[in-house]
Symmetry: C2
Subunit: 178 residues, 2 copies
């Protein structure tokens, strides 16, 4: 915004709450809710993601339920794209398309409205890249709807879990690696 | 945005998909996902909500998981507020605050990070106002965190379900009534 001081791009990271052994022993959980609750930190995070994603020229941003929904609307609004919401099973009235996948801790699936988006360039957005299971399923689902994968974007990438290596079809960008 | 043609405020409504008997017989479900997937309709919806909410001068926008998360980030980014995310139980690492409530079809609960927001002016935002059960619980939770309720905002209000009468502490605004 005109007249506003420039935002410190590291501002959002300082507000992330790190919790060990959640949701189960051995897992380190990065809680971004305190980032969202702070107007300056939230704006810094949205700006950072919008700048990172803009060069990929997406028509649509796809995000898996639910945490990423908090980010995807704001970034899509900045970039003037649509949002392809990928929901947990049973939430969307039929007809839907679904994709099952393996999580870091358990099994899960995603569903989308069965409305094709042929040739649309989609960037998959999530808050945290861990093993990449969710995001891989999200990309498969987008492709089944006819989309082309233009890339993958994350606020935070947990490098040791190797998720980046599982993602194909476009560049993988993240604001911060841990 | 400068140079863009003005958006038709009714544009988003035309993209809502209405589904009878979902998620159970007798319930009419308003599916806003096709609105989000259309860049112009999504921008029109976000603009409409931002204009509706701005006069309430919130410090924070609170939204219940999960559909409203798609909207709240974009509107918060426009108004330069923070987002108070109200999640389903078990998603946020402890310590949390929780509130149970009765749904139109079943029981549910919301949880927030146990980080007080004393005196902050909060507008509760949801996509659809039905019986008001979710939103009443959201307001109680925000108040337990020390917030002051500055109002309630909805894309769509189902007038016959009378949700508006259950909401207290601030004005109730909606973009469209059915």
């Amino acid at each position: 915004m005109d007249g506003e001081p420039p935002l410190d791009s590291a501002l959002w990271w300082e507000r992330v709450r790190t919790v060990d052994d959640f949701p189960k022993p051995g897992v380190r959980f990065y809680d971004l809710l305190p980032v969202f609750a702070d107007p300056d930190a939230f704006a810094a995070l949205v700006s950072g993601l919008a700048e990172l994603i803009a060069p990929l020229h997406p028509d649509l941003l796809a995000a898996p339920e639910a945490r990423a929904f908090l980010l995807v609307g704001a970034v899509a609004d900045r970039l003037r794209t649509g949002v392809l919401a990928l929901r947990k099973p049973g939430k969307i009235p039929p007809p839907t398309f679904g994709e099952g996948y393996q999580l870091e801790y358990g099994q899960a699936a995603l569903e989308a409205v069965a409305e094709p988006v042929p040739g649309r360039k989609v960037v998959i957005l999530d808050d945290v890249l861990a093993t990449g299971g969710t995001v891989t399923a999200a990309a498969r689902l987008a492709e089944r709807l006819g989309a082309r994968i233009a890339g993958y974007a994350f606020a935070l990438e947990i490098v040791a879990l190797g998720g980046r290596r599982r993602l194909s079809g476009g560049p993988v960008v993240s604001l911060r690696q841990v």
